[in-house]
């Protein structure tokens, strides 16, 4: 968070920006024929454990084993992140000890989550009769549960992990990496991507105005909070949790204790939402997947919990849609709806804090010597969003001229292949020599047509293939950062705080506002802007 006290050369926000940018730049070596991230571990659905682990890059398969890839990923991440922690001014030794447990415990959950009986959306593929159909991302839920157990029942152990429990930093890095992945996806479905972006922007404008006004009113009139309390509380409950509470508190010059106390509640309730809302979305919104995604962005507070909720919702809804309707949505679009709304919210926090500061000083109460400066917009601007935007734009620009051509030819080739199949069936069924000669010639012509079509887009296909090599490595790393975020969120959530004396009134106003208004208004706004928007179908 930009507001966090700066002890080292960088804060977490800037570190996430630079780390994501560095990894994205390294991934670009794929365009000179190298797969620089192919060694990253990829876990697949498995019944037999030897099928579970493999490096993500095709070039590495058979060259290094899955086990070696798993260890290599751990070693390289530890080195990179330890450098990062030293830049943050943290304790590197304690980080290395903590990260050992964070990585391996999370990874155990990830591997278990990919067990076919838990994950498979098509049990027949594994010759099994049933599955929970959670998809592999069910591993995120296991990591969260394990983190919650450790965080609430093994507080002594948590103190060993503390230096490595940085959910906001992990998720910001993951989002920075995700920009590039979504840039490639958007190149193939530009209309849809622009609709998601614009509608996400609309949704958050609505959320800011309606949410904030309503919660401020409730906190002041119903719960008799003072102005100093009500403004950060309204921002924390209604907008984006911790960052917004701190930004609003700063804007109205509240004492530091106020937003910090609000933030402590935000973190706890965000986990409650993370556990409940994706499953509600799966049950009731599986036919409106993008509504569900945007809803997570609008309703779940804190970046970590919101993106995590988006990832689970993406997996759960895709799994259910495939199982019930046979529709296989392209992964990542539901999460993109969450990410779009959440990122716009993060961006707008800085603008909102500026507006609030101006309104407070001009119309409500101006503290002596207080000046409102537009520079605060940049100071509070979440820098990791820039890594997301840069990755998105660069990969969109690289792939946009080529992706539609490749996509069109792929579709054409599929049609031709289907035609060839029919001709081959006819060929097998006939004994008439003239018919055989005619069909054989038609098949040859169709095969030649495939060759010609592929030849025409040879260069474009090469660019797209290289882009996919880059994004597959980035996406594998993104998943690992998501995974450790889930574990870290669980481990830092100490529910005993809710029972602490004195926090009751705050908790009640938070509970009433969140579950009484915010979640449902968020659902309504998501429904209005994302109803009928569907992710691309891949099967």
């Amino acid at each position: 968070m930009a507001e966090k006290e700066k002890k080292g050369l960088l804060n977490e926000d800037w570190l996430a920006f630079w780390l994501a940018i560095l990894i994205v730049v390294v991934s670009l070596f794929s365009f000179v024929g190298i797969d620089p991230l192919g060694w990253v571990i990829k876990v697949s659905e498995w019944l037999s454990f030897d099928k579970a682990l493999a490096p993500v890059g095709k070039a590495y398969k058979g060259v290094i084993s899955g086990g070696f890839s798993l260890v290599l990923t751990y070693v390289i991440l530890t080195i990179i992140l330890a450098i990062g922690v030293s830049l943050l001014g943290g304790n590197v030794k304690r980080f290395i000890i903590g990260f050992f447990f964070v990585y391996w415990l999370s990874m155990i959950c990830w591997v278990i989550g990919h067990y076919a009986y838990l994950a498979s959306t098509d049990p027949a593929k594994h010759n099994i009769t049933w599955s929970l159909k959670l998809t592999g991302e069910g591993g995120y839920i296991l990591a969260l549960i394990l983190g919650l157990i450790i965080g609430n029942f093994f507080r002594g152990f948590v103190s060993y992990l503390e230096e490595a429990l940085k959910p906001e930093f992990y998720i910001k890095t993951a989002i920075g990496l995700m920009g590039a992945v979504l840039g490639l996806k958007s190149a193939s479905a530009f209309g849809l991507a622009s609709a998601v972006l614009f509608r996400g922007l609309c949704a958050i404008i609505e959320a800011y105005l309606i949410y904030w006004g309503l919660i401020y009113f409730i906190a002041r009139r119903w719960f008799k909070f003072s102005k100093e309390w009500a403004a950060p509380l309204a921002a924390g409950i209604s907008i984006c949790g911790v960052s917004a509470a701190i930004a609003a508190g700063g804007a109205i010059r509240a004492r530091p204790v106020v937003p910090i106390m609000v933030a402590s509640l935000v973190v706890i309730f965000a986990v409650v939402e993370l556990v409940i809302l994706p499953f509600l979305a799966r049950a009731f919104l599986w036919q409106e997947p993008m509504v569900a995604g945007a809803w997570m962005g609008l309703a779940v507070k804190t970046d970590g919990a919101a993106f995590a909720a988006g990832a689970i919702t993406d997996a759960l809804i895709r799994g259910k849609t495939e199982a019930l309707a046979g529709i296989k949505y392209e992964p990542g679009w539901i999460l993109m709806a969450t990410a779009t709304t959440k990122l716009f919210i993060d961006i707008f926090i800085s603008i909102w804090a500026f507006l609030l500061a101006y309104i407070w000083c001009a119309y409500i109460e101006c503290k002596p010597g207080e000046k409102v400066s537009a520079k605060e917009i940049w100071q509070r601007f979440p820098k990791f969003v820039l890594a997301y935007a840069l990755g998105f734009v660069v990969f969109l620009l690289i792939s946009a001229p080529h992706a539609p051509k490749v996509q069109a030819v792929d579709a054409k080739v599929k049609q031709i292949e289907a035609r060839i199949k029919i001709l081959e069936q006819q060929l097998n069924a006939t004994t008439d020599p003239s018919q055989i000669a005619k069909l054989t010639q038609q098949i040859s012509e169709q095969k030649a047509l495939i060759q010609t079509s592929k030849e025409e887009i040879k260069d474009s296909a090469k660019v797209i293939s290289q882009t996919k090599v880059a994004t597959s490595g980035l996406d594998a790393l993104r998943q690992i950062f998501f995974l450790i975020t889930f574990f870290a969120i669980g481990a830092v959530s100490n529910f005993r705080k809710l029972w602490a004396e004195g926090i009751g009134k705050l908790a009640i106003v938070y509970f009433v506002s969140l579950f009484g208004f915010i979640i449902w208004i968020g659902l309504l706004i998501s429904y209005i802007f994302f109803k009928g928007v569907k992710p691309p179908i891949i099967q």
Binding site: K4, E5, G191, L192, S194, A195, F198, R199, C202, I205, E206, Y208, L209, I210, W212, G213, L214, Y216, F217, R220, R221, K224, F225, S226, K227, W229, V242, V257, V258, I260, M261, A263, S264, V267, I359, Y363, I364, V492, A500, E501, G502, I503, K505, L506, I528, F529, K531, G532, V533, K534
Partner: protein, 56 residues
């Protein structure tokens, strides 16, 4: 995390000592403007979304 640094007793004391403040007319105005602007923009943004950024 910074929030862990806040002591339970401090939370209780802060809430207990919170002074009641009258609801000011300017606050009514602020809330009305926020929600009102939200509703007006909702209509405009829905129109722009569905006209210029269709679902598919």
């Amino acid at each position: 995390m910074t929030n862990q640094e806040v002591k339970t007793e401090e939370i209780a004391r802060e809430i207990e000592t919170m002074q009641y403040e009258e609801w000011l007319p300017v606050e009514s105005k602020l809330v009305k403007w926020c929600v009102g602007l939200g509703i007006i923009l909702l209509i405009i943004l829905i129109w722009i979304s569905y006209t210029f950024f269709p679902a598919q």
